[in-house]
């Protein structure tokens, strides 16, 4: 019934040290470039240079425009199926240990979301207009 894991102070995930170093270097490089550039770059600004870049054309309208609500449905469907895939990871790892039972469980899970997929498809959630 219980899965209380180790408390902080007992465990150091040393395997992940390269990732930490990598992230520190990435942050340092990004910030460093900006800081160094702001010190050494020449400052010669004029009106055209300060306008937002729109592929060489004169900018039209506000840069921040309202997105279509269609993006929301796509993003929502993405989140749902992303979560579904996430559940597949631990399932794949323990599958051979649990056997048929795990198979049935996951098929049920996928089936329920498959119904959702068919529903979304038939309701034209994936067509763009």
């Amino acid at each position: 019934m219980r899965i209380i894991t180790g408390m902080p102070g007992q465990y150091i995930p040393s395997d992940y040290l390269p990732i930490l170093i990598f992230m520190m270097i990435a942050t340092a490089f990004g910030l460093g470039t900006l800081v160094v550039c702001s010190i050494f770059r020449p400052r010669r600004t004029y009106a055209e240079k300060l306008t937002p870049y729109e592929s060489g054309n004169p900018p039209i309208g506000e840069p921040r425009m309202r997105f279509s609500v269609k993006f929301y449905i796509i993003a929502m469907l993405f989140v749902v199926f992303d979560v579904e895939v996430v559940f597949l990871y631990p399932w794949a790892v323990v599958f051979d240990k649990i056997g048929l039972f795990a198979y049935v469980e996951m098929m049920l899970f996928i089936f329920i979301l498959l119904v959702g997929y068919i529903y979304a498809w038939k309701k034209d959630a994936f067509t763009w207009d």
């Binding site: 019934m1 209380i4 649990i98 056997g99 039972f101 119904v115």
Partner: protein
């Protein structure tokens, strides 16, 4: 290799899932949405039949189909059937005749059923989420109406907040006892003498807040009036009965099993809550001009009465609370059925003044409304009286006589706004022609609710016996 657990006790839930998925898919091919309504009612009836023949515990105690949950499941399915019956014509008038409506209602009821049977706090939480998410969508189902959108957003934001508090309560409890199993929690608390621990009390308080939100008890009732007013009327009827009863089901199980050894402490929190709930509900209802809002405050007040059954903390109190909720399902959905009849193309029929002189042109509907209003007030020989009587008696037997006196006073105050509707219908001249929208389904729903109110009112013994048996037979199994 792992053995398959017995699936018998979860059969009703499996059937419900199957039916809900089926209706979701059938919506893609069936053009006449009335067919879906009929199928949903049939599905609910089949599940009801399955519930009656199911008992047992499975999934290592996570799911308990005991007498307690069986009684609650009957309340949910009854309210589901009645709500579908009153919806058929109504959602066509509101121009939202989509098939998703019915499958969402089935999913919401499935969530309630899981809540009532949950033997583990994680299952309880997921049941709550399944129920609540479906209801949020249903509250905003009239997509083109701003009020409906507002109802959905308000309900969702406050509901998410309550869920977060519930999760915090669960995590504290898990840290303290090392388990999420409701019986395991109870055993650990009594074995280790945790009962007076302030951290445990904090967890209890968080549970009270979260359940208080679900049953719309003051001061966590703020969402109810706006949501009840903005949501489609049929959904208002549905969520003033189903999710409320589900909240009580979960509350009863958690408080009387997991927190059994803390009864003195949680009763001390719940008593002021019940008094404030009855006061807010009954007093603010007086000043309402919109009947859906008025019934929202009335629903808050009724949560206060039912809460007294939990406070009593005895099997008798729980049986009283359960029969109260069943009776409330009949009388409240009946009243909403009349409200839905007044709704027609281009006329909302939501103002209390619309009921002026209703008895002159529509004597039958007025008489039915009279019965429901009498019952909501608690006047014999209607069921409302019986419900209050049992709850109050249980509270007196548990030693809360003064609380019952308070409740009776508030109950007398409530007569003011319920009787005002009756007075308007019978003693005033009609101000305008009110056309009623009727349909066979709506008529059937009205007949069932009126019969329920009257039969339970005249022959009450059977119902309480049933509730008592449900408790003693399988309380927690």
């Amino acid at each position: 290799m792992v053995e398959f657990p017995p699936l018998g006790p979860v059969m009703p839930e499996i059937l419900m899932t199957g039916f809900a998925l089926l209706i979701l898919v059938l919506d893609l091919v069936i053009k006449r949405k009335e067919t879906l309504a009929f199928l949903s009612v049939a599905a609910a009836a089949v599940v009801m039949y399955a519930v009656l023949g199911t008992s047992g515990v499975t999934f290592s105690g996570m799911f308990a189909a005991d007498g307690y949950s069986m009684f609650f499941k009957l309340i949910f399915l009854l309210s589901l059937i009645l709500s579908i019956l009153i919806s058929v014509k109504y959602i066509a008038i509101e121009r939202v005749n989509y098939g998703e409506y019915y499958s969402l209602m089935l999913f919401s009821t499935l969530g309630m059923m899981i809540m009532a049977s949950a033997g583990d706090l994680i299952v309880l939480y997921l049941g709550i989420e399944l129920m609540a998410l479906s209801t949020y969508v249903l509250a905003g189902f009239i997509r083109h109406a701003v009020k409906s959108n507002e109802a959905a957003v308000k309900y969702f934001l406050l509901g998410a907040f309550a869920s977060a508090l519930l999760l915090y309560g669960i995590s504290l409890l898990y840290g303290l006892t090392g388990t999420t199993d409701i019986k395991g929690v109870a055993a650990y608390i009594s074995d280790n003498g945790l009962a007076g621990n302030p951290a445990l009390m904090l967890s209890v308080i968080l549970f009270v807040v979260a359940f208080g939100f679900k049953i719309a008890a003051a001061p966590f009732h703020m969402w109810a009036p706006d949501v009840y007013e903005g949501a489609p009327t049929s959904i208002t009827a549905f969520m003033s009965v189903g999710p409320k009863a589900a909240g009580f089901a979960a509350m009863g199980r958690v408080f009387l099993i997991a927190f059994a050894s803390l009864q003195v402490q949680w009763a001390a929190i719940l008593i002021p809550l019940a008094i404030v709930t009855m006061a807010v509900g009954n007093i603010i209802a007086i000043s309402q001009t919109n009947i859906k809002r008025m019934l929202a405050y009335s629903s808050i007040a009724h949560a206060g009465y039912a809460l007294m059954g939990v406070i009593a903390g005895t099997p008798e109190g729980l049986a009283g609370m359960m029969s109260y909720l069943l009776i409330y399902a009949f009388m409240n959905i009946g009243a909403f059925a009349i409200i839905i009849m007044l709704r027609s193309e281009g006329f909302s029929g939501e103002n209390i003044s619309d009921y002026e002189g209703l008895s002159k042109k529509h004597p039958v509907s007025a008489a039915l409304m009279l019965i429901f209003m009498f019952s909501l007030t608690g006047i014999p020989p209607t069921a409302g009286f019986i419900g209050k009587f049992y709850v109050f008696m249980a509270a007196v037997n548990a030693g809360y006589t003064w609380l019952v006196v308070v409740a009776v006073i508030f109950s007398a105050i409530s007569a003011f706004f319920y009787m005002r509707i009756v007075m308007y219908m019978y003693m005033k001249e009609p101000r305008r022609e009110v056309e009623l929208t009727t349909s066979p389904a709506l008529g059937l729903a009205l007949a069932i609710s009126a019969l329920g109110v009257l039969v339970i009112g005249v022959f009450p013994g059977r119902l309480l016996d049933l509730a008592r048996i449900a408790i003693t037979l399988g309380w927690g199994l």
